[in-house]
């Protein structure tokens, strides 16, 4: 559903951030981009979102599909209630689907808090609101830029579960940027390790989603995926 081929990008006058970057993302797949700071992970998301234009290469992406973006800082409008924040994508497109807004808020477990303002929410609740806003856009592809990096470990686990549940219920692809190899190994169908502006290695963890989260996190498949990713990353940082 998404294909990038030989994409290059440099900010004006700066060094190349992406240099021959290629990747594929299939329907309903979660693909994680992992790599050191400044390796171009977030730039890939912005190119896919059409917020940046690549200097070279192609981005293949069906126009009729909906995109949504979730940032590390929740990027909620502090002057608007959760309800209004979640309704933003619809409002900007000129048609608020109140049912979709309510269902998105319920899906992230914020029902009862829709009238609250972001300042009256905890960090975890704000991130849930931010995810709800993305869901309200009815995305076929969700772009997530280190969305859970600022949360503590327990909350991060909860949000990982939430994301997997939502994907199973609603069906959408996810392009996920993270610094955590454990998070990447747990969430992803495919982990792309980046270095110097391109993909240096790809690992496909084969977790059995029928198992509980606890069982998956202690399964040999998870541990071997972590090891494999770790090995590629170690090679990259040498």
């Amino acid at each position: 559903m998404l294909t990038l081929r030989d994409v290059s990008f440099a900010y004006q006058g700066g060094p190349k951030i992406l240099d021959g970057f290629s990747m594929d993302l299939q329907e309903n797949q979660i693909v994680s981009l992992l790599g050191p700071s400044g390796c171009g992970k977030s730039t890939v998301l912005r190119i896919v979102a059409d917020l940046l234009v690549p200097d070279a290469g192609t981005v293949d992406w069906r126009e009729e599909q909906n995109l949504a973006f979730v940032f590390q800082d929740h990027a909620l409008m502090p002057w608007s209630s959760v309800d209004d924040n979640v309704a933003l994508p619809g409002r900007l497109k000129g048609m608020i689907d109140q049912a979709a807004v309510a269902s998105a808020i319920e899906a992230v477990g914020l029902d009862g808090l829709a009238a609250r303002f972001p300042a009256a929410l905890s960090g975890g609740q704000r991130m849930r609101a931010s995810v709800a806003r993305a869901l309200a856009a009815k995305p076929s592809l969700l772009l997530m830029d280190e969305p859970f990096a600022a949360l503590d470990e327990i909350l991060r686990f909860q949000m990982n579960e939430l994301l997997l549940d939502l994907r199973a219920e609603r069906g959408f692809g996810v392009l996920f940027v993270t610094h955590s190899l454990y998070e990447a190994a747990y969430l992803s169908d495919l982990v792309l390790v980046m270095g110097e502006g391109r993909v240096e290695g790809s690992i496909a963890p084969k977790l059995d989603r029928a198992l509980t989260a606890e069982q998956q996190r202690t399964s040999p498949e998870f541990l071997s995926a972590v090891q494999e990713i770790g090995a590629v990353m170690a090679r990259e940082t040498l």
Binding site: L67, W79, L88, P89, L92, K93, F117, A119, A120
Partner: protein, 250 residues
């Protein structure tokens, strides 16, 4: 409670000492009248003071409205075009740094001969404009970069971007500047009346000049009190609006 009680107590202490000092040391009333005499001067001529205060308030508010509209529009222009900003910003600074008292006579000659109020409004606008422009510009620049990208991603029109993102982001900055510019517009209006001199204007400053010419010091103080009260009302009025606007944000 503390925020009201402490200044009230301090004021009461100062007034009590003032009253005591003037009475005990028999200070002539054309040098320093007692607070009670000032109060009397205020109460006795209340309709006159009220009329003068209305006149000054009208000038202040007109100038403030003009400064707000022009400040917001110019700030928007600056945020849309770097060239526009680079071209005009130095002139805005010139407006700010040139003492208004030195400019006031010129404005009076140019536009105030047949209509002194128009000159007063322009002079008050001159001092009120810059803080609004500067704050509004800062407000528009403080837009959350991620939110801005989200607006682009979801295809916001320029009007939607302004109404739903830029305006709400900049509003607290604008209100903070109105607290400053409200007081400045009042000062500008008073300066204009002083420069225009007696017999032309009808505001509080003119009443103060008139009282000064007649050595009615208690009336001068009464006029000053009215001006201070107006400044306080403007400041705390905007503070209240500001609190109302940002109450959900923190």
């Amino acid at each position: 409670m503390k925020r009201v009680l402490l200044p009230a107590l301090a004021l009461f202490a100062v007034l009590s000492f003032w009253q005591y000092y003037v009475v005990a040391y028999d200070v002539p009333k054309f040098v320093l009248p007692t607070p009670t005499a000032i109060w009397q001067a205020l109460v006795n001529d209340m309709p006159l003071w009220g009329e003068a205060a209305l006149s000054t308030l009208e000038v202040t508010l007109l100038a403030l409205i003009a400064a707000t509209i022009s400040g917001v529009l110019f700030a928007l222009g600056f945020s849309l075009s770097r060239t526009f900003e680079a071209t005009l910003y130095p002139f805005a600074v010139v407006l700010q740094v040139t003492p208004v008292i030195a400019v006031a006579p010129l404005v009076l000659i140019w536009v105030g001969i047949d209509n002194v109020e128009r000159a007063q409004v322009i002079i008050a606008w001159l001092v009120a404009f810059f803080p609004i422009l500067a704050n509004m510009s800062a407000g528009l620049k403080s837009v959350d970069a991620n939110l801005s990208e989200l607006f682009t991603l979801y295809g916001a029109t320029p009007l939607q971007r302004f109404r739903l993102l830029l305006w709400p982001t900049a509003l607290p900055y604008l209100l903070a500047s109105l607290k400053i510019s409200g007081g400045l517009a009042l000062i500008g209006g008073v300066v204009a009346e002083f420069v225009a001199g007696s017999g032309t204007a009808t505001g509080l400053a003119w009443r103060i000049i008139e009282a000064g010419n007649r050595l009615q010091i208690e009336k001068m103080f009464a006029g000053l009190m009215m001006l201070s009260a107006m400044g306080l009302v403007i400041f705390y009025g905007f503070s209240a609006i500001e609190r109302l606007v940002v109450r959900h944000r923190t």
